[in-house]
């Protein structure tokens, strides 16, 4: 064992190796590692944010579906109501129309009865005259006795 100039040579070599590592190895690799750490952190953040956004969107969709369902129910209710109203109105109209037609028919009947009565009255007059003429066995002049016959007809 002896110490000699190898010592100095190795010290220089060691110093050069350290210098090389300090300048050309360490900074590049640590930089890559640190950048990757940042990237991973950002990726995790983005994933977390995306998850939160998805949850928000889900909630919104659920709320909208609920609202749409409520709206549909409301519309159906209103449609039912409207249908009922229309039906009620139609029923009422029908009743009014029926009453009106009934009244008209009653009027007709009344006027026809009136006419029939008048006709009958006239016929009775004629029959009375005929009967009377048969009874009298002679011709009675209708015009001579018109006033009498009219009076008779009015009395019937």
């Amino acid at each position: 064992m002896e110490f000699n100039a190898t010592l100095i040579g190795e010290m220089i070599a060691f110093a050069i190796l350290i210098w090389f590592c300090v300048h050309f190895i360490w900074p590049h690799i640590t930089k890559a590692i640190e950048e990757r750490q940042i990237k991973i952190a950002e990726g995790l953040d983005a994933a977390e944010r995306a998850r939160a956004e998805l949850r928000d969107a889900d909630n919104k969709v659920a709320a909208e579906i609920k609202q749409a369902r409520a709206q549909a129910t409301e519309i159906i209710d209103r449609a039912h109501q409207q249908a009922n109203q229309i039906m009620d109105k139609a029923r009422a109209d029908a009743v009014v129309e029926a009453n009106r037609q009934k009244a008209a028919a009653q009027d007709d009947i009344a006027s026809m009865a009136q006419r029939a009565r008048e006709e009958l009255r006239e016929r009775v007059g004629a029959l009375a005259v005929q009967g009377a003429s048969k009874i009298v066995q002679r011709e009675i002049d209708p015009s001579a006795h018109k006033a009498l016959l009219d009076q008779l007809a009015a009395e019937i």
Partner: protein
Amino acid sequence: MASEPQGGLTEYITHHLQHFKPLRMSPEGFWSVHIDSLTVSLVLGIVFCLWFWAMARKATSGVPGKGQAFVEIILEFVDGQVKDVFHGDRSFLGPLALTVFIWVFLMNAMDLLPVDLLPWITHQFGIGHFRSVPTADLNLTFAMSITVLLLVIFYSFKAKGFGGYTHELFTAPFGAHPALWIPNFLLNIVELLSKPVSLSMRLFGNMYAGELVFMLIAGLFSAGSWWLYGMGVIGYTIWGIFHILIISIQAFIFMVLTIVYISMAHDHH
């Protein structure tokens, strides 16, 4: 045994513990160098740099490939260790710890190569001595720990200021009384110097001992008996598996202590 077919186990081991030195330059004395330690450590350092640099250059913040993920796992592990101990800007201490960890690990891992492999290869090129584990060379472990010591001193001055650190050297831990200045200072110097010694001796001791055990087991291969050869194979396997643990732990300890020492330099007493 390829390089020295004759001679016993002792010669085999002592031969393996010789460093490869240049012949024309001064083979002994301070200005001789261990070419094997320098070469292996530099090659492994370059492997580390190119590997991590290739990954760093095309590092993407998107989905990482398997290679990038592996490098990032190592880096995150080291960064976590630094973060646990040191609360401040990690743009220097982080890469320092990473360099220490990977470089020491790679150099320790040379222990897992067959002990004769690299020496045999170099022998083909006429180089008689070659030690393939740079961390089993005190020059390398002390080079690293002294560099760490210099960084500790530098960061002590940087964190506390020249006056602050000098003041601390003389007044902590016993007190600011003038009579205590010298004891304080001596204690601080001992504390300061013990750091690189413990750091480098621990790594060196583990790797040197590991290498020695590998050589002893390898000696069984040429002991001349099939039974001992079988024992050698089993022993080499078991020690190799155990050594995977040791080289990782030693690299880890060296890194953690480096972090601890430098972060302590930032603390005020």
